[in-house]
Symmetry: C2
Subunit: 277 residues, 2 copies
């Protein structure tokens, strides 16, 4: 692991790092905010997964989360949205597939299968690295994200509920198997057999195996992607089926941007801090 | 004035706009955060001036100030750091002069004098526009800024203390006449006669005519520009001479970045809100 920068922020440390990833076979960058409490003890860690086109920097710069993370004693970790600099055929042809659009799954189809393993990267490799290199409590991991990253957070926690102790999402792609963004990504990464998509689909997973904690989801009603891509109602149906405890809030007038995220990020940090305490 | 975007944020409105400026002879962009209180009444306005290379977007995206502005009922206004798209000879040769580096003064030297009038833009034209187009209280204006914008905020308020009712700064260029950034800018914008520089130099102005309110200045001790360019001690000397009430805080470990600004922006908003109430 190599340190790219470390700067003081709210009496803690905002850092950016890179490391060679075994899962992706590339150099991956990530960012960490260490709250002041981490100077003297291990602290709970809250992982954030960003949406299409974003990087590890987006949330750290735009969400205004460090203030409350410092107060609550939460470490924040953000990673990239895909491997980069591979120049695989077609990986940069569109903004909703390939570079910046890894969908936090493990691809099975060529040429993606060898590198597009963001599922295992987020679930295993990154936490192992964080827990080895930073004062991170091994038994208190939370995860949240936005849009494609909301999908990633829900799927990661629902697939491995014993590893992930809290989960929430902003405007997640709730049922990717049924929307254009998800159909494009899953067809390319996972192949045409739709029966194999269910294990990476939050609504499908939630309908079968609920997460033991309440899941918090915030959705803006003025979100331009709501009707076509996000389908939060699929989470409500799934929760009904499995008994998942779900708090889905719909906010009038808010869109898909980080202005929406920053408006409600404090509620998410408090949600995770309570479960990770 | 033309609206470029308006998005809900903390129950208020984050907007970006453009207008033809008489002072600069160019189209100028600016951003406004309207707190929820502005839906029903005129609110105090706090203007922020950004540093070298920045735009009206920098503070709005990176400072995390909207949350507390919404709570305190403060409107936030940010403008650009210079006119743009003029293609004057030499205006894009360096990052510390010309485009992105207007220094919030009224140039007197060709070819700058016709367009580089950010002093009058910030002091007169922009507030007049804001007060005509937004629910902005005409008698409660505050101003703050960072680095070159800290210089701009101090100079604007000290030159016109009856128009500006509160002022603060992050890591300001406190005595531009005596440092490389200021010498380069003032020589080009104002000419070689240094006696004419004093009216745009915060330390020189403060030594003669104090602002009637306490001025808050925050400075990071790990700021790479501190020794060479910023000289906050010049403000302490000036305040001693004139009796200016000055709160200058030096923060161990903080640098020149927006991680520093976001760490202390709440103190600045509260400082202004108290004086503008």
């Amino acid at each position: 692991m190599e340190t790219l920068s470390e700067q003081r922020c709210f009496d803690g440390l905002q850092g950016r790092y890179k490391h060679p990833s075994k899962q992706t076979g590339t150099t991956m960058q990530f960012s960490v905010y260490q709250p002041p409490q981490a100077k003297s003890r291990k602290v709970p860690v809250l992982y954030y997964l960003a949406g299409l086109t974003c990087s590890d920097e987006t949330f750290m710069i735009k969400a205004g989360a460090q203030r409350l993370a410092a107060e609550l004693g939460l470490m924040l970790v953000t990673c990239d949205t895909s491997p980069r600099n591979l120049n695989l055929p077609g990986d940069a042809d569109s903004w909703d597939f390939g570079v910046g659009a890894g969908f936090y799954l493990n691809a099975t189809q060529p040429p993606w299968a060898a590198h597009y393993r963001m599922g295992a990267y987020v679930d295993e490799e990154l936490p192992a690295l964080i827990e080895a290199e930073f004062p991170a409590a091994e038994d208190r991991r939370g995860i949240f994200g936005h849009s494609m990253g909301g999908h990633g957070a829900l799927v990661t926690a629902l697939r491995n509920p014993t590893r992930w102790h809290s989960v929430s999402a902003f405007a997640p792609i709730s049922n990717p198997s049924a929307v254009p963004w998800g159909e494009k990504a899953f067809t390319n990464y996972l192949g045409a057999d739709r029966s194999l998509w269910a294990e990476w689909d939050a609504a499908e997973l939630m309908a079968k195996h609920p997460h033991p904690t309440t899941i918090l989801v915030d959705q803006g009603e003025a979100d331009a992607f709501l009707e076509r891509e996000l389908h939060p109602q699929a989470l409500e149906s799934a929760a009904m089926k499995s008994g998942q405890s779900l708090t889905l809030r719909r906010h009038i007038g808010y869109d898909h941007s980080y202005w929406f995220i920053q408006s409600f990020v404090a509620d998410h940090l408090r949600h995770h801090a309570a479960l990770l305490a």
